[in-house]
Amino acid sequence: MSEQYTNNFLKEVEQNVEEGDWVKMCMQCGVCAGSCPLGPHWAHPPQEIFMMIRANKREEVLTSDSMWMCTSCYNCIARCPRELPITHIMHGLARYAKVQGLAPQNQPTAKFGQLFWDNLMKKGRVNELKLGVALYFMNGFVEGIKTALAKSGLGMAMVKTKRMDPMEILGGHGIKDPGSLQKIIKKAQELEAARTQSN
């Protein structure tokens, strides 16, 4: 109770979240909330999340599924009268929640995002087939079969139109030396961890 509106969480966000030091600049006009294509699916629209951060509602914010609704359409950024990089702050908050282990369980975008990242990390380029398959089986084997069947029509169409290659399962695109890229990224991850508490 008495912790209401102490700036602890705001400071935490400013230190650890991508573009987090912009949060304090919001003037609660709500143009972001009204501009988001998935707006209706946000339990807490961006402007409200900013207010919650100032109100020190750490748990509520980080366990929220809202940030994961961001489609990266940049409408909010384009319209924000205070020039807050809202899209990036939402990404940053989502990522931070995930790192803190507070992101909602089975949040599909959180999972897919991780799959995507792991996928590209393997070879330096995205392997769409493997990504697709992984996506289908994201919620377990049985679910996966269902999805796969449901989507097989699409899969076939993609294959038919040469926009998907079944052979990719055996390899597919990639950069010459994924190892060097992985080194670079590993270093980047270490440096970022050092800069924030996100480890």
Binding site: M27, Q28, C29, G30, V31, A33, G34, S35, G39, P40, H44, P45, Q47, E48, R79, C80, P81, R82, E83
Partner: protein
Amino acid sequence: MTDAIATNETIVVVGGGISGISAAIEAAECGKQVILLEKNPSLGGRVSQLYKYFPKMCHPTCGLEINYRRTKANPNLQVYTMAEVNKIDGTSGDYTLDVTLKPRYVNENCTACGACADAVEGEYDDEFNYGMKKRKGAYLTSTMAYPQRYVIDPAMIGTDDAEKAKAACTVNAVDLDMQEETISIKAGAVIWATGWQPFDANKIQPYAYDRNDNVITNVEFERMLDPFGPTGGKILRKDGSEARNVAFIQCAGSRDRNYLKHCSRICCMATLKHTKLMRECYGADENWKASIYYIDIRAIDRIDDFHQEVKADPNVTFIKSKVASVTRDRDSGNPVLNGVNTEGYHRYANEHDLVVLAVGMEPSVKADQLPANMIGDGSGFIQADAESEAGNGGIFAAGVAGEALDVNRAVQNATGSALRAIQVINRVSSTEA
């Protein structure tokens, strides 16, 4: 015309809106020689285009009438219309202004009898009504116009209408050969009162002003309410139907880093006034609705009572929200406002008959475009230089040229600027005495 009779004890006021007029008259009534320069054919500026003032709901022309009478009665005050300043040279107590006088094509013989206007046919956009109405090529800006002298639209020169106007004038007032000329004016001090212009609503793309006929600006709405305005005092949509469900979008362009970063101060009060005018307009008929979408209602100081009165009006709704976008309803084609009421997160998509954008004020001449070296703030308003409150040497901003102000504050500010100009003049005369 020969150069104006002016010395380095003359005060030149640039801009004939309410601030410029006030500064000029107040100084002249202290016995100073004053020259007032206005770029339009008549004085009055933006206030002359307003139908009513907040908070008294009285008519700007009422105060203008008194000011014009004071002007006519005062031999110390010379007025030049259609005059623009190109350059100001010199220093405090000794300036020379380089001024261009555009041809009016009507000389001082004019009696404002209107014969020329009756004689011509061609019609042109009426800037006084923000182009919502047409006017003749020979015209008087309004029946309150001062000087009460007709003017001929340069676009009419060379047409048959021009000759018709000349032929119709029985007092040899129409002079089609009038040429643009440049004069130089001496001055001891200059008061810069070039005022403001409404922010260009086309730039506010989310609100579709450029693509939706039923999205207009607050200054256009104001013209509609004037019985002699484009709609004869009715609140109409482009298609001629009455607008009874009107949305007002505050901070349209203001408080927004994408457009104007400053708060324009007057827009909240203007919108509150507009809801009162809607009530006046629809009278006993209760079938009307005004919705105000706002971030903060800035009805500063004593006039907050005005805000309270409007809040008490059952037909007026306040929504705490910066509208995200204005779209069109698929079936009715009516404008739809999309956004979120941030007082507890309520999403809306509201259909209205008419949307009024409360566009803000931007300085007509930005500080960095001035013909003399003056300091501006980040928004293009002129500010006093570091050394003194007294301003940039002998050049002083008055009214909205210096900050977004309402009429009352603009006049106050202009009166103070008049004194600062007089201080310079008195210093000059004492050293030369």
